[in-house]
Each structure stands twice: as structure tokens, then as C-alpha cells.
């Protein structure tokens, strides 16, 4: 039987540890992806992910279902990401290795994908990562929540705690910067890959 998040929360509050573990299994990957795209470091993203669930577990008795559990979890994770950025006083670092490991690439290849396509895909992913790292934190967060987590403008506004129009403005500004930066990459030595 598949429980909803809210049912699992209720069971967790009543002392069922397995239910909270099920929530962790259900949400650890989205939360990790959110943290990684926001702060750009694998290890720190993992720490943020763990800390998110730890704080959620501690605060669970106070969770009254006024918001969706996922939104509540996202808010905790975003606050932790924001703390991380402020504490570190730096923009997200892009982990982009200079050399390309063909064995790793081969392992990541899709069945019908040539090695050229695979390298192009990796280059594209790296270019996006670099461009995202240039964005101010609030624009980056808005784009990550909208683009990769499919939240509505209203949900993002509720999460971040800002007006709806501000969310749209941040998205517009962020996408405009990304458009410019990706166009720069497209005209560079690896341009053809980015122009696909």
C-alpha cells in the first residue's frame, strides 16, 4: 500500500519510525538535486540534504499540515542553502573537471548515443552549470524551483516568501542572463554543441 506524504507524516508523529524513513527515501533525491543546483558542490549538497531531513524530523511534531510536506521540506532545504551561501560568502562553485574521462563517459552513454554526442551532452551540461553559477542566488533559486521541480509561481512565492510578481521578475531576469551567457559559450570553441 502506498501512503501519501501527509499520512506518513501522521504516522511518523505517532511514533512510527519506518514511516519517516519512507519519507526520506521518497524525497532525498529531489532535495539533493535542489541543494546541488543551488550551491553547486556535491559534498555540501549532501550535507544540506541530511541536515534538511534532520531538521524536518525534529520539527515534525510542530508540522500541522498547513502546507504540503514537500513544500515544507523545500523551505527547510532552501533556508539551509541560503545559510550556506551566506556563511561561505561566495557564489556557488561549479565542479567542472578540465579533462574528460572517456571511461566515465562511456558508462554514462545512452544505448544509441555516439561518443561525440555524449561529449557534446556533457559539455552542454557543464555550460549550463557555469551559467547558473553566475546568477544571483534569488534568481537561481527561482529558476531551479520552476525549471527542475515544476513548482507553480504561487508555490515558489510561498516558499521564498515574496510577491508573485517578484518570482516572475526573477525568472525573467535569470533566463535573460542565461540566454546571454549560453550564447557566449555557443560562439566559443565548443559552440556547436551548445547550439543544438
Amino acid at each position: 500500500m502506498t501512503w501519501t506524504d501527509e499520512e506518513l507524516v501522521a504516522r511518523s508523529i505517532s511514533g512510527d519510525a519506518d514511516s519517516f524513513n519512507e519519507l526520506i527515501l521518497r524525497w532525498e533525491r529531489p532535495i539533493y538535486a535542489l541543494a546541488y543546483r543551488t550551491i553547486g558542490r556535491e559534498e555540501d549538497a549532501r550535507d544540506v540534504c541530511q541536515e534538511t531531513f534532520l531538521r524536518a524530523f525534529r520539527a515534525l511534531p510542530g508540522f500541522r499540515g498547513q502546507a504540503k510536506f514537500s513544500s515544507w521540506l523545500y523551505r527547510i532545504a532552501l533556508n539551509l542553502c541560503r545559510d550556506w551561501v551566506r556563511r561561505e560568502r561566495r557564489t556557488p562553485v561549479v565542479q567542472a573537471p578540465e579533462d574528460v574521462d572517456l571511461m566515465d563517459l562511456a558508462a554514462a552513454a545512452e544505448p544509441s548515443e555516439s561518443i561525440e554526442d555524449l561529449v557534446a551532452r556533457k559539455d552542454l551540461s557543464r555550460a549550463v552549470e557555469k551559467a547558473m553559477a553566475l546568477l544571483p542566488e534569488e534568481q537561481r533559486t527561482a529558476i531551479v524551483l520552476k525549471e527542475y521541480h515544476g513548482l507553480t509561481f504561487q508555490e515558489i512565492a510561498d516558499l521564498i516568501g515574496c510577491p508573485l510578481s517578484t518570482v516572475k521578475t526573477r525568472l525573467y531576469q535569470g533566463l535573460t542572463v542565461l540566454r546571454r551567457e549560453l550564447a557566449k559559450n555557443a560562439s566559443g570553441p565548443k559552440g556547436p554543441a551548445l547550439q543544438r
Binding site: A17, L25, Y36, E42, E147
Partner: protein, 264 residues
């Protein structure tokens, strides 16, 4: 960033974003559709931002290795190939392995008028020939019954060896007789008795050798069987205990969370 040539009445940038993500109410959408029909800059920017979104889709975070390793469900999502084999098939494979092992050992089990006979492939024909008539007798029986066609060359070799041995022994007996001089020549019956004694002695040595070889073969097969059974048993235990391991991992992770929570 709004193009100065665009004369959209409302908040053009917000509307463009809402339109881009299709998170817009129908009335505003219809109005912007009408605007787009006559506004080339807005159409161009919408297309460009759509291209940015397409490019963004190529950015995937790296797979969190430690999270995947700690995730008990990952084991059930992608079970190892051997877990997909049913238990009966694993047992059948083990039995097949035992059969192949016996075949490699060239184990030859035969029951005939001489009783039960077991041989292994380690029994070399050269050794047989040196061991004398008993081996020849058994091989001869097999040849007559038509079962041991593959032993024909060995039979000839054994017969030749036996003939050579008998000639040698006869010569040694004759020499002994001549050295003794005064002693009367041995009768045919005496010679025959001695030859039979020699044959009996050789046969006993051969039987001891056979027993040793057989014990070695049984020991080897038993060792292989036990190792294989252990492997099958381990595999079955892993399959059966899979759920238990997952539950244990879940409990451990929760205990960790509880401990950290109590510390803080």
C-alpha cells in the same frame, strides 16, 4: 530588457514568463496570443527563452553515490543478475556442476560379474601396465562385454607388459635353478603356483592403488560438492534475508537520526 518597439499594455516581462511556462490564466493567455501575432520582438524573445529552457534540461546533478549506497531500495530496484535466477534453477546448476566435475574426473562406475568397479581418469595406462595382470583381467572383461571399446589400446599394452613380466620372471626362475645346481628342477605345477602367487601379489597391490585413487576421487568430489552447496546456501540466504537487511538498514538510519536529534 523589454524591447522598446513592443507596445504591450500590461507588465510585458511577467506575462511573457507566465506564457513561457504556461502558468497563466486563459484570459491573459488569449490577450498575449493576440499581441504575439503582431509583435516580432516578443515572438523572437519567447523563442529564445524557450531555447534556454531546452538547454537547461541538459543539466543533471551527479548521481549521489553515498545516497544511492545508503538507499536500501536501490538493491530491490536493480537486483543482481543471480537474484533473478529461481532457487530451483540454482540447485539444478549445482547438480550439473557436480556431474561435470565427475565427468572431468573421468569417473567410471561399473557393475558386472566381478562386482562393483570404480575408476578415475587419473589412472594412467602406463601405470596400469606396470601393475600387472589384474588390471588386464578387468580390462579384458570390459572389452568382451563391448562396453569399454576405448580401453582396447590399453589392453594390448597391458598384455604386452604382462608377457614381458612373465618372461622376465621365468628367466629369473631359470637362473635361480641353475645357480642352485643340486636342486631338482621345479615342476610345471610349482612354476604355475609361483606365477599365480606373483599374480595375486600384483593384484593386491593394484587393489590397494585403486582404493587410494578412489578415496582421492571421492574426497575431491565431496570437497567440490560441499563448496558448491555452501555457495548455493549463501545465495539462498541472501535472497531470503534481503528484506531483513533492508529493514535493519532502515532501523539503523532512524537510530542515527534519533541519536543526533537527542544530542542537539
Amino acid at each position: 530588457m523589454t524591447d522598446m518597439r513592443c507596445g504591450y499594455a500590461g507588465d510585458r516581462d511577467d506575462t511573457l514568463i507566465a506564457y513561457l511556462y504556461d502558468d497563466i490564466d486563459p484570459a491573459a493567455r488569449a490577450a498575449f496570443d493576440a499581441h504575439l501575432a503582431g509583435c516580432e520582438p516578443c515572438r523572437a524573445e519567447l523563442e529564445a527563452l524557450g531555447g534556454v529552457r531546452t538547454t537547461l534540461a541538459h543539466w543533471n546533478p551527479p548521481e549521489p553515490k553515498s545516497l544511492a549506497a545508503a538507499n536500501p531500495q536501490s538493491a530491490t530496484r536493480n537486483p543482481p543478475w543471480w537474484r533473478t535466477i529461481p532457487a530451483w534453477a540454482q540447485v539444478a546448476a549445482a547438480l550439473l556442476f557436480l556431474g561435470v566435475s565427475a565427468g572431468i574426473a573421468n569417473l567410471d562406475v561399473r557393475y558386472d560379474r566381478n562386482g562393483l568397479a570404480i575408476r578415475t581418469g587419473w589412472w594412467k595406462p602406463a601405470a596400469q601396465s606396470a601393475q600387472g595382470p589384474a588390471a588386464t583381467e578387468q580390462i579384458g572383461v570390459a572389452s568382451q562385454s563391448g562396453v569399454g571399446q576405448g580401453f582396447s589400446p590399453a589392453s594390448k599394452a597391458d598384455l604386452t607388459a604382462l608377457e614381458r613380466q612373465l618372461r622376465t620372471e621365468f628367466r629369473s626362475l631359470a637362473a635361480t635353478s641353475s645357480v642352485a645346481g643340486a636342486r631338482p628342477a621345479a615342476s610345471d605345477a610349482e612354476i604355475l603356483r609361483k606365477v599365480r602367487a606373483l599374480i595375486d601379489d600384483t593384484e593386491r597391490r593394484q587393489q590397494r592403488e585403486l582404493a587410494l585413487r578412489l578415496a582421492q576421487a571421492i574426497t575431491d568430489v565431496n570437497a567440490a560438492r560441499q563448496a558448491d552447496l555452501r555457495r548455493v546456501d549463501l545465495t539462498l540466504n541472501r535472497v531470503e534475508n534481503n528484506l531483513g537487511v533492508e529493514v535493519l538498514k532502515n532501523r539503523q538510519s532512524m537510530q542515527y537520526l534519533m541519536r543526533v536529534n537527542q544530542r542537539q
